[in-house]
Amino acid sequence: MNEATLEIPYEIPEDARNPVEPFLRMDRMPHIWCPACGIGTTVNCFTRALIESKANLDKVAIVSGIGCTGRVAGYAQLDSFHTTHGRAIPFATGLKLANPELQVVVYSGDGDLFAIGGNHFIHAARRNMDLKVICVNNMIYAMTGGQTAPTTPVTAVSSTAPYGVSEPTFNLVALAEAAGASYVARWTTYHVKQLARSMQEILSRKGFCFIEVLSPCPTLYQRRNKMGDGLDAMKDYKAKSKIRNGAPTTECELSKEGEIVVGKFVDRERPDYLEVLKAQLHQSLGERYIEPEVSCCSEC
């Protein structure tokens, strides 16, 4: 994305301090995120992606679960839903199916999407539901004080694993690919340009798209693991990340100290849920089939 040629199709208030303000509920600022937390950076990338994609913001809805990243929906100046823990994806599924003209973005954290919500993630990917899922992975349950998540690296210390995590770490990108996602990428909050570009890319893709963003949690994860502050996290991401577009996702496991493979791993065309369903029903029912007009409000 070239800032010099960035065209902003939205009206930016004269007193705005930042071009992303029209995308945020400024009446809800300041936000709750800690200094040096990466979630705000991802939101900034997301607003850049919306600007670049020239999306009609009235037709973009954002759905979050519970947790630090779960609060993103509450700050986005869009139709926004803060749902229950782990259930952002099934809520988004209903929203999308009832109103397919909406671009539905699920924005949530690693614990929400992959522990309590893991089952919904794999089934939405299997169905190739037309959802854009952005997972901010801070490797911990941060909102509640830094408990172990399925993404907390082995040997890392958390409040519920004071002697180090012993369970294997979930490889989210491999899971997403195996379950059937159409698009899979991973970036860190150091890679702001690439992340914004990836986000913009999924806004134009059909089907289940997934971006994992590694994001620092200096307050809980880094402090407990003696990994320094937010700046140290950026240096760490810079030193350890390796861009390998198209890398086999099974080789992209994350660990406490090891290499961070980033890039776009999967970008494949698969008909999405509604396309397949409609085609099949057309074939089975012929002229008797009536395409869904689910919204009751079109007539009333």
């Binding site: 009235d58 139709d79 839903f81 803060h82 749902t83 259930r87 099934p90 009832a98 009536i290 009333c300």
Partner: protein, 385 residues
């Protein structure tokens, strides 16, 4: 407004309660269902899955009940009238989202065809033991509406009523069938669409910028929105102010929770649904609902034959409980007899409403089958002494 004729299967049918309930959802305007099939409720979604592609809607079978019960709410905020169907074990899993629907004031319908519990219990056999769960199952204070049909015809009629009430009060409505009513096959008359009244969603009348999604309107019920219409609104399960923004303070909590309960007061007091018979001279009143009301009918008939002045009070809207109606009766009858297919649930409500003014006799049954009418008769006769 009248029902959309595409969903109305006008005519005289021979249907079981589950199928009749499905026809009720279609007549009411439901064009979206999310389900995780479970005995003995499966037939509702099976029929919906078969019917809906020719009506112009969608059915999606979700990965579990947690998903089904929130997917339908996503669909509601996308503009649909939507429902899900389940039985005991699935109902337990749905509690989280019954709370979410109550908190976010999402109009929707949960159909529970009750079977024996606890846990997996008796998958294919009847019970009425989820009545308290329907009212209190999710955490926190909130109100819901629950309706108890006792025939396939009522499964059709009351399902429409249920959808209409959910729109009027912006609450989740529970259709509390039981396995017997769900699987009982009888005549069901489906009227022409123009004779079916359907409550449309009350959408915002004010433009974006002026409209507040949780500002109580008339009768304390706010107007609704649909995603994609340019309002850029926010919905959260957190305690929220009238804009829908989270607000973690005591005043907001007090105002919101009181309104969630108070908005159902008009229904509780004036519009409770019930069926009565022989109350004019009754000394004993049998209070029952669902399949048990049909067994009780036989017991009432036998009691009258024996010269006992027995009357019928059939609860149709179980929640909010018709306190006022029972309290009025308590002042002039000797006793209430309360048979139900559980070990004591709605009887506590009858006791609360009777407030010691009349004796309350419980006739419990652990479920698996229905009462023997003789057992109810014995209770009536003893109560009349």
């Amino acid at each position: 407004m009248h029902a959309d004729p595409r969903g109305v299967l006008t005519g005289v049918h021979f249907l079981d309660g589950d199928h009749a309930c499905c026809e009720g959802t279609l007549a009411a305007g439901a064009r979206f269902a999310a389900g995780y099939p479970i005995t003995p409720s499966t037939e509702v979604v099976e029929r919906f899955a078969s019917r809906i592609p020719t009506v112009g809607g969608l059915f999606i079978q979700m990965e579990d009940e947690l998903a089904a019960s929130i997917t339908l709410q996503g669909a509601v905020w996308g503009g649909a009238k939507a429902f899900t169907v389940t039985s005991g074990p699935g109902f337990s899993l749905m509690m989280e989202h019954i709370g979410y629907a109550a908190m976010t004031e999402t109009p929707c319908v949960f159909v529970n065809v009750q079977r024996g519990g606890p846990s997996t219990g008796l998958p294919t056999l009847p019970a009425q033991a989820d009545m308290m769960q329907a009212r209190w199952g999710s955490h926190g204070d909130y109100g819901i509406i629950a309706l108890c049909p006792n025939s396939p015809q009522e499964c059709f009629d009351l399902t429409i009523t249920g959808f209409n009430l959910s729109e009027e009060f912006r609450v989740p409505v529970m259709m509390m069938l039981d396995e017997c009513v769900g699987h009982m096959t009888e005549k069901v008359v489906i009227p022409p669409a123009e004779q079916i009244e359907v409550t449309p969603r009350r959408l915002a009348t004010k433009p974006p910028g002026e409209f507040r999604l949780f500002e109580p309107g008339e009768n304390q019920v706010p107007e609704m929105l649909r995603a994609g219409d340019g309002y850029r609104f926010h919905v959260t399960g957190l305690t929220h102010d009238e804009r829908g923004y989270p607000s973690m303070n005591v005043e907001t909590q007090d105002k919101l929770v009181r309104r969630l309960l108070d908005k159902l007061k008009p229904f509780e007091n004036g519009r409770a649904l019930c069926e009565t018979e022989g109350l004019e001279d009754a000394e004993v009143v049998v209070v029952s609902y669902g399949i048990t009301s049909r067994v009780a009918q036989r017991a009432l008939q036998m009691a009258r034959e024996q010269g006992v002045r027995a009357g019928k009070f059939r609860i149709i809207s179980a929640w909010p409980f018709p306190v006022q109606r029972i309290a009025e009766l308590a002042g002039r009858v000797k006793a209430f007899v309360v048979p139900e297919l559980n070990m004591g649930q709605m009887v506590h409500e009858v006791e609360r409403a009777a407030a010691g003014k009349a004796k309350v006799v419980h006739v419990p049954h652990a479920g698996g089958t229905v009462h023997n009418p003789d057992v109810i008769l014995k209770a009536i006769v003893e109560a009349a002494r």
